[in-house]
């Protein structure tokens, strides 16, 4: 492992930890949101969809900037966390988690929402006539039938968190073992003209991203055969 220094390995470990945490939390929180967006007739659907999609178009620095202010000692989130005795979130791992969750949100919510929308009302109505209550319907009908959407959401959410840079730099800074993820580490290497180290990590990122996306497309191509409409 001569290509990777201890600092590199620590950054890799932190990145995996961050991406895993963010993906799991997003699946947990994003699923009800996606469910609501897919089924609601409310006028709020438009505004909420727009907010969910906002991170797709905003520069990460904008998102990071506002988060920095909101989570800082004078911001609403910052005052809330300080009143709980947690201190402020910027430049901590959990600050990064919150920033990354916002940034990766559309990549998790949209595939799940699309999958649930594609199911239509019928399977749920059928389940209701078979005495399945709302929770039962979610686990026995939605989850298995929208599984491809959930898998896509997991893969995209994870990969996108691994690849983020702007938000991390804005609210996480560059603290080894706490907020210094791979993308920041590469930036550091380049800054200090350590091109060999930068190459090793950058190459690894390319390989990881390629394999992930390849896996995703292979999976999506196989899907129609499994859940072919009857």
């Amino acid at each position: 492992m001569s290509y990777f220094s201890d600092a590199d390995l620590s950054a890799l470990g932190l990145t995996l930890q961050l991406a895993t945490t963010v993906t799991l939390l997003l699946l947990l929180i994003g699923t009800p949101v996606a469910w609501w967006l897919a089924r609601t007739q409310s006028w709020l659907k438009g505004p909420v969809s727009a907010i969910v999609a906002l991170p797709l178009v905003l520069p990460p620095t904008v998102l990071g900037f506002y988060l920095l202010i909101a989570m800082g000692p004078n911001g609403p989130i910052g005052q809330f966390t300080e009143s709980l005795g947690l201190g402020t979130l910027p430049f901590t791992f959990w600050g990064l988690v919150i920033g990354s969750m916002l940034y990766s949100m559309p990549f998790v919510i949209q595939p799940i929402q699309n999958a649930i929308e594609a199911l239509g009302d019928r399977p749920l109505e059928v389940a209701a006539t078979l005495r399945a209550g709302p929770v039962d319907r979610f686990f026995t009908v939605i989850l298995p039938l929208a599984k491809p959407g959930f898998i896509t959401a997991t893969i995209l959410g994870f990969a996108h968190t691994v690849g983020e840079f702007g938000v991390v730099l804005m609210i996480g800074g560059n603290i080894p073992g706490e907020t210094r993820v791979v993308s920041v580490q590469i930036y550091d290497h380049v800054e200090s003209l350590e091109y060999v180290q930068a190459h090793a990590l950058a190459g690894l990122m390319i390989a990881f991203s390629f394999v992930t996306l390849l896996g995703l497309y292979w999976f999506q191509r196989k899907q129609p055969l499994i859940t072919s409409k009857v």
Binding site: R122, A128, L130, R131, A132, D136, T140, V141, V230
Partner: protein, 376 residues
Amino acid sequence: MDDQPNSIRAQFRLQQHRTTNQPFALDVDINLPGNGISAIFGHSGSGKTTLLRCIAGLEKADQGFLTVKGETWQNNRCFLPTHKRPIGYVFQESSLFPHLTAQGNLDYAVKRANKKSASKQSTSKQSTRALFERVTTIMGITPILNQYPHQLSGGERQRVAIARALLIQPEILLMDEPLASLDMARKQEILPYLERLREGFDLPIIYVSHAMDEIARLADHAIALDEGKVIAQGTLQDVFSQVDSPIHFGEDTGVVISGQVTERDTRWHLSKIAFDGGCLWVKDGGDALNQKVRVRVLARDISLAKSCHHDSSILNRLEVTVAEIHQDQDPCMALVRLKSNSIYFIARITQRSLHQLKISEGNTIWAQIKSVALVR
């Protein structure tokens, strides 16, 4: 309310904005018996399916009142959600869960039917097993239980769907044009299963359809809907033998008569069906003596004569009284309602013949019946 405790009473008012720009309104007040098959029929867009969905709780009427066998499912204050109503529902097109095998689809119902009854009284595993065997045998699906829905034919899928609706052990079975998505051959394949269903299970069924042949064959009670309103309701015989009803059956106008096989002529392959107003010879359908059967006589198959002609090829002649004469939709035709004891027939003849034969209400004349179809 002076409802019988066993009946189903429903009042619904509902405004709907359909894709076409004319709004649709359902406004019905119906009373259905708590047994047998009740048909809801009408043209497409008449609100049949909406009415059924209101009964199931899949659609929420703006104003609704629904009691089923003495239990209130909906009134001004309460609305029992679909999954708490003891119904079985068969949808028009295949509604099997694609991720489960036929067996898996049936188990989905079995599991939830038991959950419900477990609290009241424990249905033993054996009786569940026995019901499962009985339902799958009656529906003829035992050999295909391991297949996924996409491996089954349309008819097979619908039979599995019906079996699934039975296995939830409903107190009432709702069927929304269960045969409409199938071709003629598949339809003929399933109809006998539906008949076995009515014989084999003591279960009220509400059956939505626009196909007169299905209704003539299956229903005991009928409700006709047009543009969201009830235009006729009563026993099948009553509803089908009206000549002044606003429902236009056209070529399908005709009555359904229940009778019994009293004689079988093996030489000429005919059966004699006796009913309250006389008897009719029909093509032998293989029914045993004393078997209860149902025949359908179409209005276009009856001609009228002032005297009894023994020299014609027509097999069935009945002496009847003219009860009512009505203009048909077609300006050259008339509908004549004929009475023989308690049984009514309808003849569809030309206005000119009516005039030439000087037929008027109260006359006794001869009905010559060209063909009689044994529907069951």
